[in-house]
């Protein structure tokens, strides 16, 4: 029974976490909001006064804005499609009876534990390098001209690298969901003569819909803020400047804090829209 005393004790125990997170969220966010209405150039005069919405207007109308939105969408969309399609196929494969299932699962999951800077550099140098990379060797073997991956096909390269990192996550979650599927349903359908494809379409896929939604939402939140992979490969050149990277460049490289902060606020709003959907799903689960 929760007594009055235990309630106030509970509140006390929660306080440090709540206060820290509140501070962590509100203080920097308010500062960003504040800077976004100022002309603020730390290296060229500092605080140059209020400018109203000028930073927002300049951020949205700059020639770099739309390409960065496009780059962001291509990376998020591309990686989502690849990880979910292959994730489902892999999850179904891993769910089948086989020898050494545990080891295969360990192999498949491994990329998720590789730090982003390592995976990006390994792919960049040892696979995608146009002279010494393994892909170059492969292309030469088939008498084709090696591709300069990170300049000629920069977006494709980034999508490949990031998909490799996130495929394990999608697979693991979808596999967890598939394993909770009642196999008797599938057997019943099979006995009634349903072909494999309709069994997949009418039983497995609907069962996975919730897991797929969760994968989409969580990955989107992480993919929107992809940073290290671009930082160590293209540094934002060759059309790989995502929204996150553009804001980073405005703030830290060109030290135009006002402009960058306006972009930052836009990124926060964008992430919040996705977060609301995720919260609904997670929140529903809390009652269950």
């Amino acid at each position: 029974m929760a007594t009055k005393a235990s309630r106030s004790a509970a509140r006390l125990m929660m306080a440090p976490a709540v206060i820290l997170l509140l501070g962590w969220m509100l203080v920097p966010l308010c500062m960003t909001l504040y800077f976004s209405f100022k002309k603020y150039l730390p290296l060229r005069g500092g605080d140059l006064g209020w400018v109203g919405f000028e930073n927002y207007v300049r951020f949205f109308s700059s020639s770099a804005f739309w390409p960065s939105v496009q780059a962001t969408l291509v990376i998020v969309g591309g990686v989502l499609v690849i990880t979910i399609v292959f994730g489902i196929l892999l999850a179904i494969l891993l769910d089948q009876p086989m020898w050494g299932q545990g080891i295969v699962r360990i192999l498949v999951i491994a990329p998720f534990f590789v730090m982003p800077t390592v995976s990006a550099l390994v792919w960049k140098n040892m696979f995608m390098d146009p002279v010494n990379g393994l892909f170059a060797h492969l292309w030469k073997f088939f008498d084709a001209t090696p591709i300069e991956w990170l300049s000629q096909a920069s977006m494709t390269s980034l999508v490949i690298i990031v998909s490799w990192q996130w495929l394990p996550f999608a697979t693991l979650i979808l596999l967890t969901a598939i394993q909770s599927l009642d196999s008797e349903q599938l057997e019943a359908a099979e006995m009634d003569g349903a072909p494999p494809l309709s069994r997949f379409g009418y039983i497995t896929l609907p069962h996975l819909s919730r897991a797929i939604t969760v994968v989409v939402l969580i990955q989107t939140i992480f993919l929107l803020s992809i940073f290290a992979e671009i930082f160590v490969t293209t540094q934002g050149s060759f059309g790989t400047k995502t929204l996150t990277y553009l804001i980073y460049q405005r703030v830290l490289e060109s030290q135009n804090v006002g402009l960058g902060s306006a972009g930052g606020i836009f990124a926060v709003i964008l992430a919040n829209i996705i977060a609301i959907f995720l919260m609904r799903i997670v929140g529903k689960n809390l009652d269950a």
């Binding site: 235990s6 509970a10 929660m14 976490a17 709540v18 997170l21 969220m25 203080v27 966010l29 500062m31 960003t32 892999l90 494969l93 089948q96 009876p97 086989m98 020898w99 299932q101 080891i103 295969v104 192999l107 498949v108 999951i109 491994a110 990329p111 998720f112 534990f113 730090m115 982003p116 800077t117 550099l121 390994v122 140098n125 040892m126 060797h137 996550f169 979650i173 967890t176 969901a177 008797e184 057997e187 969760v214 969580i218 803020s225 940073f227 290290a228 160590v232 996150t244 980073y248 830290l252 930052g264 990124a267 926060v268 964008l270 995720l278 919260m279 997670v282 689960n285 809390l286 009652d287």
Partner: protein, 276 residues
């Protein structure tokens, strides 16, 4: 009723799954293999797979040249420290939410989760400024605190879902049998909570170890962990594949091993219990 599976079918599954598994694992395998080659063998055309003169030279060079141990130590301190701090703050919070839930518990939990979704780049400059003002830039303390804060929501959520599975009846039974609050915590609750706390620690160390936005932006030389150490290899200098591989292998090996132990927690922790 289990379906009978022919051995032939099982054989096909096995071959397909192993092929795909090895394909996905290949970049890591290739990195590990390359780390034992000489620089000349590392770029040999055609590539050499297994039959070369294995050498430990690269590990020695990397160690000497870039003071690898210092970066490793920074990673250990930052990942370990932020996890320890996080657990210290999260255990009481998760505990009270799981055992003394109020009408607002759900809202508080969801709000905590929402702080995790704040894009880091949106608050980059304020944090940077605060760090400069407080002399925390390029310090392990500063980075430890930031990583603790970004992972705190995940820690609280994971602990909450674990604690909620501890049946309240057991506590009542212990109380009926005359256990004092102290005995209740030491003999009944702690043993049941330890597996959950251990899994949370494991996942959080992995997340903190691999974090690569704040570690790259808030450190320079002194406090830089392994993520930044590896990033310094992004501008190539002559032959360096074997050394890059050795450095990479050293950076990922401990986490790869920890990670394999924590697959289940990964699903639970990162989906906030939305997929079971």
């Amino acid at each position: 009723m289990a379906r009978t599976v022919t051995n032939q079918r099982k054989f096909i599954n096995t071959v397909a799954a192993w092929a795909v598994g090895l394909l996905i694992f290949f970049p890591i395998l290739w990195t590990i293999l390359t780390s034992f080659k000489t620089e000349a063998t590392a770029i040999a055309d055609p590539p050499v797979f297994l039959f070369f003169d294995w050498t430990l030279e690269n590990y020695r060079v990397v160690q000497e040249r870039s003071d690898y141990m210092r970066f490793l130590w920074n990673s250990v301190i930052i990942a370990g420290g932020s996890t320890f701090l996080g657990i210290l703050i999260a255990v009481p919070a998760a505990w009270s939410m799981a055992f003394v839930p109020s009408a607002r518990t759900k809202d508080i939990l969801l709000w905590m989760l929402s702080t995790k979704m704040l894009p880091a780049v949106g608050v980059l400059y304020p944090i940077y400024l605060i760090f400069i003002k407080m002399g925390l830039l390029d310090s392990r303390v500063g980075l430890t605190v930031v990583l603790m804060l970004i992972n705190l929501p995940i820690i609280i959520w994971m602990l909450y879902t674990y604690f909620r599975e501890i049946p309240g009846e057991i506590l009542e039974a212990a109380r009926m049998d005359g256990a004092t609050l102290r005995e209740e915590i030491i003999y009944v609750l702690t043993p049941m909570a330890i597996p959950g706390i251990a899994s949370t620690v494991l996942l959080n160390i992995i997340l903190a170890w691999n974090e690569a936005f704040w570690t790259l932006n808030l450190t320079a030389a002194k406090a830089a962990p392994l993520t930044a150490f590896i990033a310094s290899y992004s501008s190539p200098e002559g032959l360096f594949y074997a050394k890059l591989s050795a450095a990479s292998t050293m950076a990922i090996a401990p986490i790869l091993i920890l990670g394999w132990f924590s697959q289940k927690q990964l699903v639970r922790g990162l989906t906030f219990g939305a997929v079971k």
